[in-house]
């Protein structure tokens, strides 16, 4: 639901995207910067999931971040200063995440903190970043930033949040797969977000969720839940995550055979997993949300080709050096885009050192449009400075021959919702 004011702002933003897109092509590669007063590097503290449940994401977030930093440095750095990435493992643990934030600020003397994916690490770390007055740019896709739970020092400008992703799927599902949906989701916060926001969205479109089936996190077999799926279900919406997802898909295939409902899922379940893996055959013909299509199609943009080569990913979404090393393509672009926004923010604020951190936050809050470009290969985005959250296109792909083939790209307007907070009215 978008207010009139919001919509006018967005329309202005959309017009601005078109107007400046061509110019933005020049941004990453050819910008020239004023001679800096200092040639000391700008230190970016990078919280990375090297260990713990997020390690697969962390590996690719790390590669993407290094590639973006290299590109920025090749083009002259930020305000004439090179960017230095200071990486620390957060163990995918909120306690360690907060400790790492402290380390960035007080030991490494980083200018900003950056990262990370898992929501609990972000939520556990953000209070300390706020206390330390350390700008904290997260790439988490959680709704925690825009919900108003965090603080003015925490922003998410480089990736859309889960609420907008979920609600933007509803129109296409309703129009193309069916209006009677059964949801299967893990019985914790991530799954509950899907339950809440998708149910609201599909009901607004005249559809209904026939059954909400919550799976306990410790579950290893799913057969006993499958008979709960009503016979009249037209669409099975699943967001299982973790190692159990392969079992879930296999058991779902054995249960339904050739006569199941349409199936729609979120690629979070299968990031870093080859879709052609044994056991996933039942997904053939099903659909997935993708933040950014894993497979390069015929209509691949110049920006995607550039980005894909820079981060070392082939046309199938796997590492150029190891085809079995599948990337987390739907999410990791957020690191690339966030670092470019950090660069733009620091240049707008004429950032010289920690004394300019507040000016940096205000400069990013003043941004409203990120046109599609090499800096933003996933697509154009609108940024809401009040909620510190970006909004952008989402993608739906169909599994065909063990590959994900894009079939739909949402409008940015499908992803927008009303403001839940205004960080610009809170103190630093």
């Amino acid at each position: 639901m978008t207010t009139d004011t919001d919509r006018r702002t967005l329309l202005k933003g959309a017009a601005a995207i078109g107007a400046v897109a061509a110019g933005a092509q020049l941004l990453p590669g050819t910008a020239r910067y004023a001679q800096a007063q200092s040639s000391a590097p700008i230190k970016v503290g990078f919280q990375v999931h090297r260990t713990g449940i997020g390690a697969a994401y962390g590996r690719w977030y790390d590669r993407t971040t290094k590639a973006a930093a290299s590109l920025i440095n090749e083009a002259g750095g930020i305000n004439g200063r090179p960017v230095e990435i200071v990486a620390e493992d957060d163990g995918t643990d909120p306690k360690r995440g907060a400790e790492v934030i402290e380390k960035f600020a007080n030991l490494h003397e980083c200018d900003v903190a950056f990262g990370t994916l898992f929501s609990h690490v972000v939520i556990g770390s953000a209070p300390r970043a706020g206390e330390l007055k350390l700008p904290y740019f997260v790439v988490s896709e959680g709704h925690h930033v825009a919900s108003g739970m965090l603080n003015r020092w925490t922003l998410q400008p480089g990736i859309t949040d889960v609420r907008s992703q979920i609600q933007s799927m509803a129109p296409w599902i309703s129009d193309n797969l069916g209006k009677k949906v059964t949801m299967v989701y893990p019985d914790f916060a991530f799954g509950h977000d899907h339950r809440k926001y998708f149910t609201e969205a599909i009901e607004r479109l005249g559809g209904e969720v026939l059954e909400h089936i919550a799976i306990p996190p410790s579950e290893t077999s799913f057969f006993k839940y499958l008979p709960k799926i009503p016979r009249e279900t037209e669409v099975l919406y699943h967001v299982m995550v973790g190692p159990g997802v392969l079992t879930f898909v296999k058991e779902m295939g054995e249960y339904f055979g050739d006569s199941g409902p349409e199936i729609f899922g979120f690629i979070d379940s299968l990031e870093a997993v080859d879709i052609a893996s044994p056991g996933l055959e039942f997904l053939e013909g099903s659909h997935f949300w993708e933040g950014y299509p894993r497979y390069a199609g015929e209509d691949q943009s110049e920006h995607d080709a550039f980005y894909r080569a820079a981060v070392g990913v082939d046309d199938n979404g796997a590492s150029l050096s190891d085809p079995k090393d599948v990337s987390t393509y739907a999410h990791m672009f957020g690191c690339w885009e966030t670092l470019h926004i950090l660069k733009a923010g620091m240049e707008a604020a004429d950032y010289r050192g920690p004394q300019d951190r507040q000016a940096l936050i205000e400069a990013v809050e003043a941004m409203d449009v990120f046109p599609e470009s090499r800096a933003h290969p996933q697509g154009s985005k609108l940024f809401n400075g009040r909620t510190h959250q970006a909004f952008g296109h989402q993608h739906i792909s169909r599994v065909e021959g063990g590959r994900l083939v894009p079939v739909h790209r949402t409008s940015i307007f499908d992803t927008v919702y009303e403001d839940q907070t205004d960080y610009t009215k809170t103190s630093f």
Binding site: D89, L107, P127, P217
Partner: protein
């Protein structure tokens, strides 16, 4: 007794004296370490002195954390009363779990406590509408004040953590040097003989478990109000294993072992994950031209190696060795 009082007084005085001289980084770390050391002090009472190995202590830490944080979030309590309520929650959990789990011994006790803790963890996830499940929630900086003191201020936080640690250490030292403490040690050494002497081991073990749970809850509640976050990860099994490691490293059955173990383990993880292993990976890459990202993340291997060496060469922990070889009066 005098030497013991002097030793503990000196340790607390050293912690006070360190406050103005520590760098910002180590200052923040020590505040965090003292809160976690309170957890370890409690664990030591049960494991180190009484000989009961619990694999479910995270539930008590979480009981304190959520007992406090939920009252702040949902009932808008001040953090002072909420902290007290968190401690009471952990105490109550200790009584309930103690009455049930202490019917078992040895491996049975470990499994029963583990199962209770798993149920508590799943309960936090299940009641997501209140707890925000695995994501957890923050306690805003603006309301983290007690009697006009801002608990997010670094100096205030340091002294708040120190006050809590001092209270835990003094209480622990007082118990272990009392008649009750001697009975607890006797239970650890030979429970049947203690029973034969006319004591009721169940009562004493229940006391040790409730004391331990209360300390764990105080640490959990303090973490929530001092660092502004409550989350389900603190109820996971790894947070039941950590106090065991801290106590094993520092010296089970020594009053200062938990602090020493927590400090050493904190910095071992900090340097192994942030400096040593990434440095080793960079060195390998520089010498061979082969990237070794796996090596950078292999710090857990180093922590594991340290623990293996500890078990082989100092099974009584560092202060246990000191007591055996040099300072026999060490409490």
């Amino acid at each position: 007794m005098t030497r013991s009082i002097l030793l503990h007084g000196l340790v607390l005085a050293a912690l006070v004296a360190l406050e103005p001289v520590l760098s910002e980084y180590h200052h923040g770390n020590l505040a965090r370490i003292m809160v976690l050391a309170v957890y370890a002090v409690g664990y030591n009472m049960l494991f180190g002195y009484t000989g009961l190995l619990s694999l479910g202590h995270a539930m008590f830490f979480a009981a304190g954390m959520y007992g406090c944080a939920l009252l702040v979030r949902l009932a808008e309590w001040g953090v002072g009363p909420a902290f007290a309520a968190g401690v009471v929650c952990a105490l109550a959990a200790g009584v309930v779990v103690g009455f049930l789990a202490l019917r078992t011994i040895g491996v049975g006790f470990m499994i029963v406590t583990l199962m209770f803790a798993e149920a508590a963890h799943l309960g936090i996830l299940y009641y997501n509408d209140y707890t925000r499940g695995d994501e957890g929630f923050t306690i805003p900086q603006a309301i983290r004040t007690v009697a006009g003191l801002d608990l997010s201020d670094t100096t205030t936080r340091y002294f708040a953590a120190l006050a809590l640690f001092a209270a835990a250490l003094i209480a622990s030292a007082a118990v272990v040097q009392s008649r009750t403490g001697r009975v607890l040690v006797a239970i650890r050494e030979n429970e049947d003989r203690v029973r034969m002497l006319g004591f009721d081991p169940f009562r004493y073990k229940l006391f040790a478990l409730v004391f331990s749970a209360t300390m764990a809850g105080a640490a959990g509640a303090a973490y929530a109000v001092l660092f502004g976050y409550a989350g389900a990860s603190f109820a996971e099994v790894q947070y039941s294993i950590l106090p065991l490691l801290w106590v094993l490293l520092g010296g089970p059955g020594t009053t200062l072992g938990p602090l020493l173990g927590t400090v050493l383990m904190f910095y071992l993880i900090d340097y192994a994950s942030g400096t040593i292993m990434p440095g080793l990976a960079a060195l390998v890459e520089a010498q061979t031209g082969i990237a070794a990202p796996g090596l950078a993340s292999a710090w857990l291997l180093m922590v594991g190696l340290a623990l293996v060496l500890l078990v082989l060469f100092a099974p009584r922990g560092l202060l246990g060795v000191v007591r055996a070889r040099m300072v026999p009066w060490l409490p």
